[in-house]
Symmetry: C2
Subunit: 506 residues, 2 copies
């Protein structure tokens, strides 16, 4: 989930101040409502060293009535705490109904710093994840709002901050040896954080990743998240009171735009560099080499019995078909199959939405390519209302679980998002309409979908972040130049296969 | 969950036939309703070899319309299936909406037989449990009814059945080498089954243990379970249609007595032998020896930093107080504490129901004794309606999870149920009323609770089965003779401590 985050986001001082005036008023009002409705709230701050947890908590409580919250700094366990199970100290620091508790690092310590430091033994990790999920599920089922915030900065930024702190006697003590060690082994520590995020990002207690390079941006985003989570719960509780016990299954969609602008939302797509391109000559030359290489690797896959799952998603006219064609052109047709995914038929509708994909998964040694995938659940089904909000929110974890299971059984899984911009799409639509050979490719529905571009963009951004994992990464393909896109797909598949073969040798 | 099951249950031919006439008519009607309402149903049969899975499936389908179900015999994976993740073959054998699929052994094979045979590597077990829970959660969230039936017989009965099968050429092939090996290592295989039951007994897909020594009893109980599960879901779906989208949070309680008599319910308590007793002399002699021994072990616990959690539940006047008194009489008072559990106060009510117990848990090396416990959730709160049906049904797993966490952190956990019969309770109540020194011990509420004896008995039986685990077992104490009861409690605690110390030496 971390890999896709754009850490460069920022706000100017003016933008920041304008937003904060609104947000601070709002959060104060919401806190009073929670008190009245007896809603308990836990806000957990996690993130890298020097990402600003302390500073951000300081900012957050500016907006809150000090009689209604409590901040806990979670450090190494005391002697007393060591003598209890690790969640014990959080049961003892739990807000009663109507109050807010804020944790400066939280119950995740056990599977993060302590794990990195070897204080959590490998065999304890599984049971810790299990305990954490059960802890959060129990509390939210009982009415707790759990807000989990993860502050992200990169290795370089972290190093810069440590150096600044170390340069003054007054702040040097704040950088520990452990901090420097984790900076040095940033990638290793990042993998631990990544696993934690993926395994504990649930519909009842989702993670919110906050880009923390710019302090102002982070503050505004944190306020926005807290406001949104509280608004959601307050509305649910109100409705359940109004329906006197008949709780509605559906909680209304609150758009984050009500409290802040588009920039505070997730955005993976905007950082795509669509100017990347190859000339026809470059393309032809690369294509030939890569296709030959893939053909050879395909044979290896078969001998080593490795299944490969490739999913293609993207804007209409984004170039999925062309990329799949170039990918498979030289492969032995007995060893791969392409499944186009249309709207589900009646038999498929009478099953779970993942059912039709499970039945099409490749067996060992085979390659299955999905032209559109199970991600329809969190895109078209979400936007067109074909499933409920609860259902698509639950789907992120369901999909991560499915891909985890497939990866555990040895599969290579890659998911491609074919990215083009809105102008390029228009050019391609028009070209299709003008070409009698290609007219079949363009329908009224394509034009209708195009009108919902912004809604799709929001859904796609959220999808890319919540479902990109080390075992099944999303690859955003810069697609304005078709040549570039096709080569990138081929290169990515080849690299993934080579890495897998390398791993198996060890 | 297996340990507490009474395998001796049976029905006479007459009782059986009378019940089955009702049940068969009922199940046929329910199947048609499911078809109409498009409810898909999966029925998984697990259990020991020769426990009668095939026979019972044969009986079950007698009541069903053959056009509406399909039976799958799940054997070793085919070559095709081996080349996919282990759940793949169940995705391909899934009933569409409105149909029933029955599995003769199921997706649990991976964590049962295959695990015993070493075909599932230890490091695969965790991820298999995770995949299974996620599989069932996804499907039930989508409307599937999952009915999981576990047929239990004991080692001796199994051996007898194998011998009978082996004695004839026509049936000998049905007993495999693996069957005989599992019979020989029955205890080891039982532990694997026990872990599976505890880790996958969820509110969305609960396990039903069926006592299978008597074939007739098992058939009637299986029918009863299926009828009940289908009735529940049909009612829910109906209500949700009536409320046109406004699903009620609460599903009404359907008592199993509507379809069969009390005997088909769980019953742990009825097999308690309440005639067990000691004379005063035997008692005094044993008491002195045991108390001395415990005192010594208490010191060891402290040095080895082992926390001990002892919970006491039982009928009013069941002898909890007396047993706790004798248990602690010679112990160093700095090393133990007794927490009496009353109705929650206002602060406690404003927290999760487990919160107050978490905060009282012993630290390493200390003993905490709870006089009444967190099990109030599934007894008094269930019966008095202080929590919703959903809440107490969820509580079994929540409690198992909490105890698992505590056990993982090294604690000894024992739970005592002080059992007396209704007549003995009456004698004790009257004796208290007649004795001015003891009048304070008896209140009007005690007499009111007594009127709900049957309801409590049902709740206690279910609790004992669903929450007895190898790491936190329930001990039913035969309590009509107070002397016997007190000695049994002391002996049990001493044995548990000795075993723990023994383990730690290894």
């Amino acid at each position: 989930m971390l890999e896709k985050v754009d850490l460069k986001k920022k706000l100017t001082k003016e933008e920041y101040e304008e937003k904060m005036i609104q947000l601070e008023t709002k959060i104060g009002r919401l806190q009073r409502e929670c008190q009245k409705l007896k809603i308990p709230v836990m806000i957990a701050f996690e993130g890298y060293g020097a990402s600003g947890k302390g500073v951000q908590i300081g900012e957050l409580i500016q907006g809150l009535d000090p009689r209604g919250f409590q901040v806990y700094a979670v450090k190494n366990e005391t002697e007393e705490e060591k003598m209890h199970p690790f969640l014990w100290r959080f049961w003892t620091k739990m807000p009663p109904k109507g109050r807010i508790a804020i944790y400066d690092s939280s119950w995740y310590r056990k599977v993060l710093i302590d794990r990195f430091d070897g204080m959590t033994r490998p065999d304890e990790v599984e049971s810790a994840f299990r305990s954490i999920c059960s802890f959060e599920e129990q509390l939210t089922a009982d009415g707790m709002v759990i807000i989990k915030i993860f502050l992200a900065i990169d290795k370089k930024e972290q190093k810069k901050r440590f150096e600044k702190l170390l340069s003054s006697k007054e702040t040097a003590w704040r950088v520990s040896k452990g901090d420097l060690k984790r900076n040095k082994s940033f990638q290793k520590y990042q993998a631990i954080n990544e696993e934690m995020l993926l395994r504990t990002d649930t519909d009842y207690a989702p993670w919110h990743i906050v880009e923390a390079t710019d302090r102002r941006f982070a503050t505004a985003k944190i306020y926005t998240i807290v406001v949104q989570m509280l608004e959601n719960r307050i509305r649910e509780v109100r409705e359940s009171i109004e329906n006197s016990g008949n709780r509605s299954d559906e909680s209304p969609d609150i758009s984050i735009t009500t409290v802040a602008d588009k920039r505070l939302r997730e955005s993976v797509l905007t950082k795509t560099d669509l100017t990347l391109s190859y000339t026809k000559e470059e393309y032809k030359e690369k294509l030939e080499i890569l296709q030959k290489k893939l053909k050879k690797l395909h044979g290896e896959l078969y001998r080593k019995r490795i299944p490969v799952i490739l999913g293609f998603e993207g804007w209409d006219a984004g170039g999925k078909g062309g990329a799949i064609k170039r990918l498979t052109q030289k492969m032995d047709p007995r060893g791969y199959v392409v499944h186009p995914t249309a709207s589900p038929n009646d038999i498929e509708k009478s099953h779970h939405y993942l059912w039709r994909f499970w039945t099409d998964m490749p067996k060992a040694g085979h390659v299955t390519i999905f032209d559109r995938t199970w991600y329809g659940r969190v895109m078209v089904e979400r936007i067109e209302g074909f499933c409920s909000k609860k259902e698509w929110q639950r789907a992120y974890k369901e999909i991560n679980d499915m891909e985890y299971t497939l990866a555990q059984s040895g599969a290579i899984i890659l998911k491609f998002w074919m990215q083009i911009d809105k102008d390029e799409q228009e050019r391609r639509f028009k070209a299709r309409q003008d070409n009698p050979e290609k007219q079949w490719k363009i329908t009224d529905e394509d034009w209708r979908n195009r009108e919902k571009w912004d809604q799709y963009e929001e859904a796609v951004n959220e999808m890319l972040i919540r479902t990109s994992s080390p075992y099944a990464p999303w690859v955003v393909v810069e697609g304005n130049c078709k040549y570039y896109a096709r080569i990138k797909v081929l290169e990515t598949v080849i690299r993934a296969i080579e890495e897998k073969l390398e791993q198996m040798k060890k």
